[in-house]
């Protein structure tokens, strides 16, 4: 009797648990999860739409000529302003930084995956993580206090230059390139390497003839991701590049980038003015470029073999 009663209350409890309340819980969970996913989409759409609207507006409201804007120099905050020197500056810093960071990064990745497999990983993994963690203002500060004077004394010019930007941004994107390259090389099946060693190839021959070709699409992805980061970097570049609005004539000349000019001019312009509107167009350019980098990465990694 007592037992039967117990079973009944137990059954009742279980039934209740499995009944409508758990169903309600289930759908409440679903609502939470789906709406969070929706917010991610909404945020992306909102950024694209708002920046698109503000950026394109310049060309309709103020009659700025798009072609003129993209291809001429001379930035005076009027309808005739051209942003070419900043576009050039951004691309120059990006490619130069990749020139520094790609060989160093891929070299370090090969070191930690092929040469010192055990301790190389142990030492370089934290190095990568800490380098990623250092804030960009700190990179900029070191650029200003160490690299700029060093260049001024040894290379010439003012020190504030494309070259300084290249070094600072190169170091900043180094960990990105290294860690993705290392993952790519680790993903190559050991069999392929063993086959190469079995044929009597040296380690260098294996790296050069087998590992690098097999990992190439992923290595390219690593470099493009690094370049995307370099292109969008703002404060570190702004602090060392000199922010001169003309085209640089050499690598030791001062220059400016899209990000550095937005950083500098944004607080000084009045909302709704031509100058302000032009800055939004530069922002839109940055946004479009980050889409372009994503597309490039998709194209490159679709050729991935490993």
């Amino acid at each position: 009797m007592d037992n039967a009663q117990k079973t009944e209350t137990n059954n009742h409890r279980l039934l209740k648990k499995n009944g409508s309340s758990s169903k309600r819980n289930e759908s409440r969970g679903k609502v939470l999860v789906y709406s969070s996913a929706a917010i991610v989409i909404i945020a992306t759409l909102a950024i694209t739409i708002f920046l698109g609207y503000k950026g394109i507006r310049t060309f309709f409201v103020f009659d700025v000529n798009v072609w003129n804007f993209l291809t001429t120099t001379g930035w005076d905050g009027t309808e005739n302003s051209g942003a070419f020197s900043f576009i050039f500056g951004s691309f120059a810093v990006t490619f130069l930084a990749a020139l520094v960071a790609a060989p160093l990064g891929i070299g370090s990745a090969i070191f930690m995956t092929e040469i010192a497999k055990k301790w190389g990983q142990k030492v370089l993994q934290p190095v990568i993580e800490i380098l990623v963690g250092i804030p960009s203002v700190v990179y900029g500060l070191i650029g200003v206090t160490v690299i700029v004077p060093l260049l001024r004394d040894n290379v010439g010019g003012l020190g504030f230059s494309l070259l300084a930007g290249m070094i600072v941004v190169g170091v900043m994107i180094l960990p990105t390139i290294t860690s993705i390259s290392a993952d790519a090389i680790k993903a190559i099946p050991q069999d392929i390497k063993d086959a190469s060693y079995g044929l009597g190839a040296t380690r260098w021959q294996t790296i050069y003839k087998v590992i690098i070709p097999a990992a190439l699409p992923s290595l390219m992805t690593a470099i493009v991701l690094g370049m995307a980061r370099a292109f969008g970097e703002a404060l570190a570049v702004q602090m060392v590049i000199g922010n001169v609005k003309g085209l640089p004539e050499s690598i030791i000349d001062q220059a400016a980038t899209l990000t550095s000019i937005i950083t500098l001019d944004m607080p000084h312009t009045t909302y709704g003015s031509v100058h302000n509107s032009l800055l939004w167009s530069l922002g839109l350019f940055l946004l479009i470029m980050s889409y372009v980098f994503i597309i490039i990465i998709r194209v490159v990694s679709s050729r991935r073999k490993v």
Partner: protein, 295 residues
């Protein structure tokens, strides 16, 4: 024979790459700490900053950095974790899922200055929040969300399938399984990711220039009424953070001890970022050892 020489040469080049990278980090940290810590003392950390006179401190900036960090995490962790759960558990291979994955990718590759501009337009101007902690934190949420989503998805996916199936086989519903089995099992991974992202938020400046502003009140640490404009807790006041302070002092500072303030602030900033990183690593390792059973 020459192949051996080439091989050795190549090996030394690779070693050199790794040495350069490690040396760069050691130099960076060494430089910041040796140069900066000599300017850091108790009064530097506990006094108000000064815009023109010598001897300003970083009390308010340091507080603002932590406050913005916490508000950002309050916004971005629940959203990001739920988004990650969606991708790991609920997403079916469909167009919509693709759109979400692309969105996460786009958000994570946005330049932080673009996020700052978006924040300026939408949070500061359209929503009328002005330069404020809350606008800064919302901008940083945009910036942090994709990181948390990814970390959560990865951590949940790495929970063994058996655990989930066992729970489902007991008749426990999907959402209840997520709550009581998957998320607890994935928690260490998620926590590590959150701590690493906290380090990034703490050091972020570009997205805050136009959202949290370039100035801060001298906070009264005895008024805890959040509506008082000098209260540390007021989320609607403009709040210069430590990293923004470094940038501002360096580019527009007119006080005579600009270099000392900048390097001291950088040292403090780096120490906190390192603390976040090391804590994340330690927690990650402890958990890894626990799970794999290797000591």
């Amino acid at each position: 024979m020459s192949r051996r020489i080439v091989n050795n040469l190549a090996t030394s080049v690779f070693i050199l790459c790794a040495v350069i990278m490690t040396a760069t980090l050691v130099y960076l940290l060494g430089y910041i700490l040796t140069n900066g810590l000599s300017n850091v003392d108790w009064s530097f950390i506990t006094s108000n900053s000064s815009s023109s006179m010598e001897g300003g401190g970083i009390k308010n900036q340091l507080w603002n950095s932590f406050y913005i960090l916490i508000v950002t995490l309050i916004f971005s962790v629940p959203l990001g974790v739920l988004g990650g759960i969606y991708l790991a558990e609920y997403a079916k291979p469909s167009k919509l899922t693709n759109v979400i994955r692309t969105s996460v990718e786009v958000l994570s590759s946005l330049p932080s200055i673009v996020v700052g501009m978006f924040g300026l337009l939408v949070f500061v101007q359209y929503a009328g929040l002005g330069y404020s902690i809350i606008a800064g934190a919302l901008a940083l949420t945009v910036f942090n969300l994709p990181i948390i989503v990814r970390v959560t998805e990865d951590s949940i996916r790495s929970v063994p399938k058996k655990q989930k199936n066992a729970s489902l086989a007991l008749g426990i519903t999907h959402w209840h399984t997520v709550k009581t089995v998957l998320v607890p099992a994935a928690f260490p991974g998620i926590l590590t990711g959150i701590l690493l992202s906290a380090g990034r938020i703490f050091g972020e400046a570009a997205a805050l220039l136009f959202t949290a502003g370039l100035s801060t009140n001298n906070l009264q640490f005895d008024t805890w009424n959040p509506f008082n404009s000098d209260s540390p807790l007021n989320p609607f006041r403009s709040a210069e953070t430590l990293s923004v302070h470094i940038w501002k002092v360096n580019s527009q500072g007119i006080m005579p001890d600009v270099d000392e303030i900048a390097s001291g602030s950088a040292a403090v900033l780096i120490i906190f970022v390192l603390v976040f990183n090391v804590t994340a690593r330690v927690i990650g390792n402890v958990i890894y050892n626990k799970i794999t059973g290797s000591k």
